[in-house]
């Protein structure tokens, strides 16, 4: 092996379930035009993680608090659009840097949350990541048809007096929890990239929803594995390598589809 397996097994196992779960959530967020949700919730999660670390809590315990509060606030405000997430990004970013500037944690730690600190993940992070991934695999088959119906035929829920808040809030909390754990494990931008890029590619190419799930998780896991190996082999930070790989795949796909002249992503 070209990397010391014992040292990096837990980090690898911690990220792998998230590389599976985040693209699945990404397909539904893209369907709902809420893909910016990840970045908004991730910023709140990072701010809460930083605040928690100031109190002696590990990032994976603090992060969900911020993300869940964001999801609940969005539901209570009855807002379901990217504008809300833009507000979360701005608020989370300012809180994160202000907490860092006014505590002993310092700017470097805030930056670590943005960049990702996967190599410091251990069995605790791996356990939490596996738990949220299993939660996604359990809940999504029930949530998905309801969320698709709500997106394409919103009048159906109201006309039939259905308790739609259950699946909308359930999905919001599932996204918040997964994004929070992912932010504390993979880093903010790596989390966003795993939600955003595989789902976009799947929407372009998959012939059905079932295939879109396979396609997006395939892209997510392949990119994660390759990024992990490259980052270790080349001694680079994991987050930027993963994001670069995914963005490259998106650009390459644009070239293949439309030729170099019109290869805008």
């Amino acid at each position: 092996m070209f990397w010391p397996m014992d040292d990096f097994l837990w980090p690898f196992l911690a990220g792998l379930p998230l590389a599976l779960a985040l693209p699945l959530l990404g397909t539904l967020l893209r369907l709902r035009d809420e893909w910016l949700a990840t970045l908004g919730l991730a910023h709140l999660a990072a701010a809460a993680a930083l605040a928690g670390m100031g109190l002696g809590l590990a990032a994976v315990w603090g992060a969900p608090v911020g993300a869940m509060l964001g999801a609940l606030g969005k539901t209570l405000a009855r807002q379901r659009n990217n504008s809300v997430y833009a507000v979360m990004i701005l608020g989370g970013w300012s809180l994160m840097l202000l907490i860092a500037a006014n505590s002993a944690l310092g700017h470097a730690l805030a930056q670590a949350l943005v960049d990702g600190q996967l190599y410091f993940a251990g069995d605790r992070e791996a356990f939490l990541a596996a738990t949220v991934a299993l939660l996604c695999l359990w809940a999504l088959p029930w949530l998905t048809p309801r969320l698709i119906r709500a997106r394409l035929l919103p009048s159906f829920e109201r006309a039939n007096h259905l308790p739609a808040w259950r699946w909308h809030l359930g999905f919001d909390l599932l996204v918040a929890l997964t994004v929070a754990v992912a932010t504390a494990t993979l880093g903010l931008m790596a989390t966003f990239a795993l939600v955003f890029v595989p789902a976009w590619l799947a929407f372009r190419h998959a012939p059905s929803w079932r295939r879109a799930w396979r396609f997006s998780t395939g892209v997510g896991i392949a990119a994660y594995g390759l990024a992990f190996a490259l980052a270790l082999g080349l001694d680079q930070p994991f987050g930027p390598v993963l994001v670069l790989l995914l963005v490259s795949a998106l650009i390459l796909d644009g070239f293949v589809r439309r030729g170099p002249r019109d290869a805008g992503v």
Binding site: F203, A206, P207, S208
Partner: protein, 207 residues
């Protein structure tokens, strides 16, 4: 037999009254057509029945436990959507049994890659073949060529017995063909301000 849907003096609109007062009753096996010029408030009346448009006066009564199916005037279709017709019907709890052959042939295609007419016909099937007892169809012949209009009419007629159907259309021939009664909403009077405006609603059998 008790009607499944009863409107009594309903005045509805968005922000201000747009339609009404309208009174009507609709029972199982009936297909009631809503006709009238643009701006008469036909779609607004459907929205009021769905609970999406405020009712300013009168009331809408639905039979207890009545399930509702709806075909919007412009069904939502995202520009990119990797969802087949078959998967969409499954989400809606709708079976493809008895579906016309042409429609059955497109079920494995992505919905964003169907033609406008194919998508409309699939949306109409989703409304007609599900569990909805009250079926609200807003301009079901949009985007349909004559052959597809024929298919749409046959589908509505074939499934009307166990349902109460309210159908909005500008296509008089279509209304005459499929409706058991037609309610003609009059053009609004009063230049666009709701207060005191009156609107007539008259039902008559197809000629």
């Amino acid at each position: 037999m008790n009607p499944w849907l009863r409107l009594e003096g309903v005045v509805a609109g968005y922000g201000r009254p747009v339609v009404g007062p309208v009174s009507l009753e609709l029972g199982p096996g009936e297909v009631l057509g809503l006709a009238g010029p643009n701006g008469a408030g036909k779609s607004t009346l459907i929205a009021a029945i769905l609970g999406e448009a405020p009712v300013f006066a009168g009331h809408v009564e639905r039979a207890h436990g009545l399930t509702v199916a709806h075909l919007p005037q412009r069904p939502i279709r995202p520009l990119e959507l990797p969802l087949t017709g078959q998967e969409w019907l499954r989400c809606m709890g709708v079976s493809a049994d008895g579906m016309p052959g042409h429609l059955a042939g497109i079920l494995q295609r992505r919905m964003d890659r169907l033609s406008g007419g194919e998508f409309q016909l699939l949306s109409l099937w989703a409304a007609l073949a599900g569990a909805g007892q009250l079926v609200l169809l807003d301009e079901p012949t949009n985007n349909l060529d004559p052959a597809h209009v024929h298919l749409a009419a046959e589908a509505i007629m074939a499934r009307r017995e166990a349902r109460a159907t309210l159908l909005v259309s500008h296509d008089q021939d279509f209304l005459q063909r499929v409706c058991s009664r037609i309610l003609t909403l009059g053009a609004m009077r009063g230049g666009g301000h709701g207060c005191g405006r009156q609107q007539s609603g008259t039902t008559h059998p197809p000629s």
